[in-house]
């Protein structure tokens, strides 16, 4: 694809870069350095931020810089991954619609782009590029754990419509989002991967109840949706009936490849695993008054080591995957490291904070936050697919070790054991 950059009808990279640079200066606000990526917000603040990011997305669209690699006929810029890389470099230092790059542009828009009909794409891709549609993945289910293909949400055909019942969970901000890409079971009498279909559905409509989940640190970013006799037209189905795992396989690929995807804006230096987005360990040690404590200095040095290790490993793997020296399965390595290293970083911060991590004066709230984040530390090894699944993936698919025995491959999904026999 990179050869296209040389094609006569495609703007060359340098020209694109200078045009973009000028445009950004004119049109996009400089990044607010005080904006911590993971800062806790009130609902009002969050809604305001989402509205602001919709507006930023609209500006990009109006400037011709939305959806760089999406075709022009669907409202994109019709350019190449190399152009997206240029944008990723140039946008550093500017505000951008960070709030819904993922999962709206990928995996959602990229799945629609790959599997949608022309009509489906015309209906949704331009709206997404204009910031009008924010998408969520209706993928995980309560009780489903890491086994997304074991979806039990059921869609039953009724004429030109489908009737959906079931529940999805771990959707980030479904309460302020517009559409969901939903994996549902359309056939219980075939093995599990052969009875799935994918649907697009409006989130805020009768038949869907959105419930916000409180995490142990007080965050309510995740939602659970309950679908009760939800009716959607067959025209909102993506891909074949019962062929949903064909879609799902690419969907999973896009989800695992966020670190190297060109479907969305990923400012250089913002890669997953690069840092916690929180206070630096040096800053924590200073606030805890422990910079002269040799034991604390060991922790600060270790923390910085792990941050650089995660960063360099992720960069290496992204380069290797991009150049095809490494298989796509190597993405699992970044995920393992992000989980393991960030867990240790959360622990180091907690140790540095000392007693203030568990009982603190008001002015020590930043140290208290570290205690609460320590309680949450395993989220780094759970969210976005557990490290255990990545360890399976790396050992089996990257290193070719024998796969785990599965008891659900060759039987009708209906027959698969789903819980302990009642006693």
């Amino acid at each position: 694809m990179s050869d296209l950059a040389q094609a006569p009808d495609i703007e060359d990279l340098d020209s694109f870069r200078y045009r973009l640079r000028d445009w950004l200066k004119e049109n996009m606000p400089p990044a607010d350095p005080r904006r911590a990526p993971f800062r806790r917000m009130s609902d009002e603040e969050e809604l305001a931020l989402v509205a602001y990011h919709r507006e930023l997305q609209r500006r990009l669209y109006d400037g011709g810089f939305a959806g760089i690699i999406f075709a022009k006929e669907y409202g994109g810029a019709g350019l190449t991954p190399a152009h997206q890389e240029v944008l990723n470099e140039e946008i550093v230092g500017y505000e951008y619609p960070a709030r819904f790059q993922v999962p709206t542009f990928s995996p959602c828009a990229s799945v629609i782009y790959e599997f949608g009909t022309d009509e489906q794409k015309r209906r949704h891709i331009p709206a997404i590029l204009r910031g009008e549609e924010i998408w969520m993945q209706f993928l995980s289910e309560p009780g489903g754990g890491s086994d997304v293909a074991g979806a039990q949400t059921t869609a039953i055909r009724d004429g030109d419509e489908w009737v959906i019942n079931g529940s999805k969970i771990w959707t980030t901000g479904a309460w302020w989002s517009d559409w969901g890409l939903c994996l549902a079971r359309t056939n219980w009498d075939v093995p599990k991967h052969r009875g799935l279909s994918v649907f697009m559905l409006k989130i805020h409509q009768p038949g869907i109840d959105v419930h916000r989940i409180e995490m142990l640190n007080g965050s309510k970013e995740f939602c659970q949706e309950f679908m009760t006799d939800l009716r959607i037209p067959d025209s909102d189905r993506i891909g074949e009936v019962d062929g949903g795992w064909t879609v799902g396989t690419r969907w999973m690929y896009h989800e695992k490849s966020l670190g190297i995807s060109h479907y969305f804006i990923r400012p250089v230096g913002s890669m997953r695993g690069a840092n916690l987005g929180g206070p630096t360990p040096l800053g924590v040690a200073r606030q805890a008054g422990r910079l002269d404590d040799p034991v604390a200095r060991q922790l600060v040095g270790e923390a910085h080591t792990l941050q650089l290790a995660g960063q360099e490993a992720t960069a290496r793997i992204a380069r290797g995957m991009a150049s095809r020296k490494l298989s796509d399965q190597a993405a699992g390595i970044s995920r393992i490291l992000a989980g393991v290293l960030n867990t240790r970083l959360a622990t180091i911060n907690y140790e540095l904070a000392g007693a203030s991590a568990v009982a603190w004066d008001e002015q020590d709230q930043p140290l208290g936050d570290l205690g609460v984040e320590f309680l949450m530390r395993q989220a780094r090894q759970i969210g976005g697919g557990t490290v255990e699944m990545s360890r399976n993936g790396v050992s089996e698919r990257l290193l070719g070790m024998p796969r785990e025995t599965r008891r659900d491959n060759d039987v009708a999904f209906r027959e698969v054991p789903r819980s302990a026999p009642s006693r």
Binding site: G150, Q378, I382, R407
Partner: protein, 382 residues
């Protein structure tokens, strides 16, 4: 918890367990998170009736243990507190009660013990100090002699249940060196309490400022300038409670997780059939047994006032402060996303263990202290 309890101890532990089971379901713990006190005084008085606050007081002074080994009995209660992430100032109340019983004058005992043991008044130990005096054993709060009274100046934080407490046991630096302790009413002029924030659901802490608070000689507990041994004893009692509580929290976390692993299926198989999880769980079980062994041994050494009591409580804290948290975090990991929600119970036990890990000395504090203990023991033997 000990594998072998006497029938009396088993009954006592069972009574406490049943009481906590009735009184503090996890739904109540969630409600209490916004409660300023974090516990109900009537609940506490009923617990006191079960013996929670009188185990370290002799029968002559109106208390009494179950087995003749009050510290070991108290550890049984603390273990259940861990298993239920129970509310109530078990640690600090027992420390104060034991200190008064051990070193109080007849007048102090008569004036304080009945209320402390019944739960009518709550005593709290003002020992730890805020930065830059946060390292275990640092006491900067000054007790200065002036006009026939002592004047206390300095900060104490975190102090458990500081807002609720009617009585403070204050550990202070004496003018001529050494430590002096005072038992004073919480409303002594010059003493003010600011509530702190905490990650536990039900335990509460305060920052207590002593702004030239004048107290009479009758407030002195034990010998002025010579309270070092008493303070060490108090610390040991607090640590025994922490160790048992953390072990109980681990035990309950493992129990919840065992059930989950057997009942939860993934790819058509129970989670308990995945070797990677089985092996990690076997390690967790091993750490739990080591925790039980260390916590019990520490309780016994403190009960016996053995020469190794200080060593054992520090080793216990150094071990549990690391491994209890590691095991509970693994329990969370095995649960996946549901394990980090507020709705799930696991975090209640994790919070309690994390809280205990950082108070009365961090793991780092106790490792350093252990090294000092080993050095001084070696010097004795040379």
């Amino acid at each position: 918890m000990k594998l072998e309890l006497s029938p009396e101890q088993a009954f006592f532990a069972g009574t406490t367990r049943q009481f906590l089971d009735d009184k503090v379901p996890t739904s109540l713990l969630r409600e209490l998170r916004n409660d300023p006190a974090g516990f109900d005084r009537e609940f506490w008085r009923q617990g006191a009736d079960l013996g929670w606050t009188s185990l370290l007081v002799t029968e002559d002074d109106g208390g009494g243990s179950v087995s003749g080994e009050g510290v070991c009995d108290l550890a049984l209660v603390a273990f259940e507190f861990g298993r239920y992430a129970a509310p109530g100032p078990l640690t600090t109340a027992n420390v104060v009660t034991a200190a008064v019983a051990r070193s109080g004058t007849a007048e102090q005992k008569a004036g304080l013990l009945p209320d402390l043991m019944s739960g009518a008044r709550i005593g709290s130990w003002a020992y730890a100090e805020p930065r830059p005096f946060e390292r275990l054993g640092t006491v900067s709060l000054q007790a200065t002699r002036r006009d026939g009274r002592y004047v206390l100046s300095g900060h104490k934080a975190p102090v458990e249940s500081a807002v609720e407490a009617e009585v403070f046991l204050v550990t202070a630096a004496a003018e001529a060196g050494g430590l002096t302790q005072f038992v004073i009413p919480a409303d002594t002029p010059g003493v003010s309490v600011t509530p702190m924030r905490t990650l536990d659901m039900t335990r509460r802490y305060g920052h207590v400022v002593f702004d030239e608070a004048a107290v009479p000689d009758s407030a002195v507990l034990g010998e002025p300038g010579a309270a070092g041994d008493d303070v060490e004893r108090q610390l040991q009692i607090a640590l025994v409670i922490q160790l048992a509580e953390m072990t109980g929290a681990m035990d309950r976390g493992m129990e919840i997780t065992t059930e989950w692993l057997f009942n939860r299926y993934s790819f058509g198989r129970p989670l308990a059939s995945y070797q990677a999880l089985k092996h990690r769980f076997a390690d967790m079980k091993s750490y739990l047994e080591a925790a039980n062994g260390l916590a019990d041994a520490a309780a016994q050494h403190v009960q016996d006032e053995s020469a190794r009591a200080g060593e054992y409580v520090s080793a216990g804290k150094s071990f549990l402060g690391e491994y209890a948290l590691q095991v509970l975090h693994e329990c969370v990991q095995f649960h996946g996303g549901i394990g980090v929600t507020f709705e799930h119970d696991l975090h209640l036990y994790l919070r309690r263990a994390v809280l205990d890990a950082q108070l009365y000395g961090t793991v780092a504090d106790h490792r350093d202290r252990l090294t000092s203990i080993l050095e001084s023991r070696e010097q004795l033997h040379v």
